[in-house]
């Protein structure tokens, strides 16, 4: 329990606005209520929120999701219910109730605040959406009013929970008004941030390994459920509600210290975690009733796999590659040319293993051709050359249509009608009955792509934790010193570049078959639909450079959000840009940071200075 706070009120120079703060206020929360009352309000508000989700929120079924039913929650109500349950549980944990207490080994208060904030966001978003879409507050049923009040009460209560206020910076008496304003804003922002700060949890009691494996299984199951739910959200409102609940829910769980606990366990059982994650991903198509969402699944997987390959080049070796998607294109075109497609000038039909191998090798050859002259240089040259290569690839492919150049790629029409794969008699185009579930075309490809992802993950893991991986990181850190340590910089960088290209080519050979048609405009620098070079790079940076799970998470978000939020339309790239700027401002190490990078960017924070053996 971390309710003890030290009176951190230090003498301030007279005349600053903060002098009105009394020591009593310093110990209080952001809202001036007694802590015990706040705790009661937060927990009670959480309970009331749970109850309210079983009420009707609106009178008509015009609002999507049918929120009119008394007795069980539906649509957005389910999300608010989850938020309410989290708030209540963490509220009880902050009281130190036996059994529940274990849920928050970190900071229960901070977890309550996050959960209450998320519940408030989801509930008020729903209420406002109902009022706006149906035209007025009259459309709210009593349940809607109750939930609005309950979540507000819970939020106010949660914000009244005490926290350690940061030591205020002394004010420079010479400051002008503008500097004073900036100083005070910074001070308030620090205080606000401190309100949500959490302690790192004490090391856990060692669990028996079967229990730890059970925890991993449970986490994977939760992950699969959340992902399936997010992919399966049927309308925009539900997806936004999902983003709010999932985002704040994850933050709450993280503040409670559960994320740290789980990652300690997963770091201990890395192989089991990896297998678990792949079983969970393979189980995804079996949870779906139609092939509709398996389509999203397979495209996310392609995007994520290519992003992971890029992470070797960018995250480990530090080579900024702005034309990476061209290697995907090389792989896809190569596989398409030998796929037996009627529009391919080569009328051959190679088996999948051969075309995948060829795709990977040809992409690697291109990687060496591009890398060999440029990797001798340092700095930005590589970025410019790879950007150029990406465009050269697209335009060359566009012109090899028989009129402007040799007839190879069919120009802008691309190579179409790529036949479905058939591996050992398993026809990827047909539906199959597996374990009583119908598995459609995209689900088949999803399972195949999963194997490719597994290959890329294994390659990433094994290469990063080896002599060559250390050489990559050393080159990224300080090239001169790395050379002085006997590392052949050019050779090592070329290996990273070629390996990245090879993995992209491998993914491309599957991608060509999934999309039926390969056309030049799929492989541009920036394009509305991922994967393209800009989005790939964004997925790596957003997710976290140098990690395995980072690009997977980043790619999922970057694919799902535009695919699900149709109303963004033309503003999609704008929203994408704003998100990226905000993220780089507030979390430059990415959503799932490499522990190294976290230390790099937040030197002053309380993260431990020691890296565990498990490392990145």
């Amino acid at each position: 329990m971390t309710t003890q706070t030290t009176p951190s009120e230090s003498p301030k120079s007279p005349g600053t606005p903060e002098t009105s703060d009394t020591p009593a206020a310093a110990r209080a929360g952001l809202v001036g209520l007694p802590a015990s009352l706040g705790r009661a309000l937060a927990t009670g508000g959480g309970v009331l929120t749970i109850v309210s989700t079983f009420l009707s929120w609106t009178w008509t079924t015009d609002f999507p999701g049918d929120l009119t039913v008394y007795g069980y929650p539906g649509g957005l109500q389910v999300l608010v219910l989850i938020g309410g349950v989290l708030t209540t549980l963490f509220g009880l944990a902050s009281y130190g109730v036996r059994g529940v207490r274990a849920l928050a080994p970190g900071s229960a208060d901070a977890a309550v605040k996050m959960a209450a904030l998320g519940t408030f966001g989801a509930a008020w978003y729903t209420v406002i959406a109902i009022s706006v879409e149906l035209g007025g507050l009259v459309n709210l049923d009593p349940g809607g009013v109750v939930v609005a009040i309950a979540t507000l009460v819970a939020l106010i209560g949660a914000l009244a929970l005490p926290f350690t206020r940061p030591e205020p910076d002394p004010v420079d008496p010479d400051d002008t008004g503008w500097e004073l304003l900036r100083h005070n804003t910074r001070q308030r922002w620090n205080t606000f941030r401190a309100a949500f700060a959490a302690d790192t949890p004490a090391p856990a009691r060692p669990l028996p390994s079967w229990a730890e494996i059970l925890v991993i299984v449970a986490v994977m199951a939760v992950g699969l459920t959340v992902f399936s739910y997010g992919v399966g959200t049927a309308y925009d409102e539900l997806f936004i509600g999902f983003l709010i609940t999932a985002g704040f829910g994850f933050a709450a769980v993280s503040k409670a210290g559960l994320v740290a606990r789980v990652s300690a366990i997963t770091a201990k059982h890395r192989n089991i975690t990896m297998i678990g994650a792949f079983v969970a991903a393979a189980a995804f198509p079996f949870t779906q009733t139609s092939d509709q969402y398996a389509t999203i699944g397979v495209y996310i997987l392609i995007f994520a796999t290519v992003a992971l390959g890029l992470n070797i080049v960018v995250g480990l070796a530090g080579l900024l590659d702005l034309g990476y998607v061209a290697f995907l294109g090389v792989g896809a075109y190569t596989a398409a040319l030998v796929s037996g497609s009627p529009s391919s000038p080569l009328h051959v039909h190679w088996p999948f293993w051969a075309s995948a191998l060829l795709g990977a090798v040809v992409a690697m050859v291109f990687g060496v051709i591009i890398g060999a002259p440029t990797l001798r240089l340092r700095g930005d040259y590589l970025a410019i050359v790879t950007l150029g290569f990406g465009e050269i690839f697209r335009i060359t492919v566009l012109n090899m249509d028989g009129t402007s150049g040799p007839d190879v790629t069919n120009g802008s029409n691309g190579i179409s009608s790529i036949p479905n794969l058939n591996i050992l008699g398993f026809d990827f185009g047909a539906q199959h009955q597996i374990l009583g579930t119908t598995i459609g075309r995209f689900a088949n490809y999803l399972l195949l792509m999963l194997i490719i992802t597994l290959v890329v993950v294994v390659v990433f893991r094994r290469s990063s934790d080896s002599r060559i991986g250390r050489a990559w990181v050393a080159i990224r850190e300080d090239e001169t010193a790395a050379l002085a340590m006997g590392i052949n910089g050019f050779r090592v960088k070329l290996i990273a570049f070629a390996l990245g290209a090879c993995l992209a080519g491998l993914s491309g050979s599957v991608q060509g078959h999934v999309t039926y048609t390969v056309t030049p405009e799929q492989y541009q620098f920036a394009y509305a639909v991922p994967p393209n070079s800009a989005f790939l790079l964004a997925a790596v940076v957003l997710g976290g450079m140098g990690t395995i799970s980072g690009p997977l998470v980043g790619a999922s978000l970057l694919y799902l959000i535009p695919a699900k939020l149709q109303f963004l339309g033309d503003y999609q790239l704008f929203a994408f840009g704003v998100t990226l700027i905000l993220l780089m401002r507030f979390r430059p190490e990415g959503l799932i940071p490499n522990r190294r990078r976290q230390l790099e960017f937040h030197e002053e924070s309380e993260t431990p200075a020691v890296l565990s053996k498990a490392g990145a």
Binding site: V458, R462, S463, V473, E477, A481, M485
Partner: protein, 321 residues
Amino acid sequence: MTTDTTTKDTAPGAPAPGQVVLDARGVTMRFGGLTAVRNVDLTVNSGEIVGLIGPNGAGKTTFFNCLTGLYVPTEGEVRYRDQVLPPKSFKVTAAGIARTFQNIRLFANMTVLENVLVGRHTRTKEGLWSALLRGPGFHRAEAASRERAMELLRFVGLDRKAEHLARNLPYGEQRKLEIARALASEPGLLLLDEPTAGMNPQETRATEELVFAIRDQGIAVLVIEHDMRFIFNLCDRVAVLVQGEKLVEGDSAAVQGDERVIAAYLGEPFEDAPGAAEVAEVEAAEAAAGTESAEATEPAEAAAADAENPTDAAPGKENDR
């Protein structure tokens, strides 16, 4: 080459004492019209600690860079064990010359152990395929590398901090780590570029002992330093570089007694060098502290510097910077 660094045995690969390890002949380095190093000869024998001193801007670091393949000398050649040095710094390291940097260049975001493991790069062979396939050979080589790296960390006294990030080490330990990293490449010659810059007297003395311990392993050491007491305690031979030219070379006593050296540091105009007076004046002001402290020691005492027991009280030793 799996010598135990903790013992003082001579490494099997090290040549017999007295054999020439490094032989630089007529090294000249020009940048455009500026001659930074002019016709410098220097030899380093095995089991020897050689110092290279000189006022700021004398071309010491440039000469160092010529030895390590960062620069290719305009004229002259550098031989390491009778082989002309290749012009790439990573090949120089592979040949057996390791170095540290004047301003510490660690891999800041790697752990201490990983830094040393990177130093092992030239002495291990495992490539990408080996890393991907993870055969028994890979695991054996990794284990051996780690063991050797931990040995080196114990040698410099950093084994308890093996899992810390290099950036989080205090300054003195970063210097030590840089030396450990250089030693990991199993060099026959170690080049130290101002290893005690910014250190307090205790740390300097610890470094002194570390260098002696390295020498006792049969590794020849070439040191650039501004701290005169450190250099005269440590080195068997000292070469003085002024204005890109080697002025004197000899044992500590000879160098300390040499008028030209004192002139170069204290600012007497020294012939054949246009503008030397002005340059020397500025240099003298900068170097005055170092020289004074060096001269405070009796030359004879410094020359007979007891290698194994450098415990003579050195009150308030000053650093040059």
